[in-house]
Symmetry: C2
Subunit: 117 residues, 2 copies
């Protein structure tokens, strides 16, 4: 549970940066080298490497160096953890609204209590 908390801290922090989201977007279409990730971004290669390190530390991306080329791949389970956390809270809120709606519908059908209308 503590571990999941730390993962969520790092995943949400990683996704809070627009350049890192562009990298995740690109990697969702397939693996890419660091220079391919750098291409659409207006920043130094060193800055791109730092962003890749944040993405790796969060678990969203893993990379492997073969020769002089480091290739990055998306790790869908970290995306799944963050997606599930949000989805559960949103679902709980919606179930609450549904119950509230049912309660109001039931009570508006009771003419005995309709004195305020």
């Amino acid at each position: 549970m503590l571990d999941q908390g730390a993962t969520l801290d790092r995943v949400f922090q990683a996704l809070a940066d627009p350049s890192r989201r562009i990298m995740v977007e690109q990697l969702s279409r397939g693996p890419a080298s660091v220079s391919e990730l750098a291409r659409p971004l207006t920043m130094t290669l060193a800055a791109v490497v730092q962003h890749v390190q944040v993405l790796e530390a969060s678990g969203l991306v893993r990379s492997r160096k073969v020769g002089r080329v480091r290739t990055c791949t998306i790790e869908p389970s970290a995306l799944g953890t963050a997606e599930q956390w949000i989805a559960e809270r949103r679902a709980r809120w919606e179930r609450r609204l549904d119950r509230l709606g049912e309660y109001l519908a039931e009570h508006s059908d009771e003419p005995d209590e309709g004195s305020s209308r």
Copy 2:
């Protein structure tokens, strides 16, 4: 699109903090006052107010002050925006894996090309 980017920056930044996630968790069960949000947390009321302000700026929470009590409510559309962004990237990656699997399955059925076996 720029607007959505700024929203995602703020929503993911807001969710990157464990105390703010506890607040969102509590608010997903129903509206709460700032002091109710402070109860499970070991921090000053001033710190809680600051976290609430970050949550409001992100669009995840809205609040309304009546008399001396500020009541916070979750805003499910901001959660939905973040959830959808993640879900789309994850789905794109999974479709890619599916296509790759289909390609491999098709090509492993071709004995004409099975020279390496």
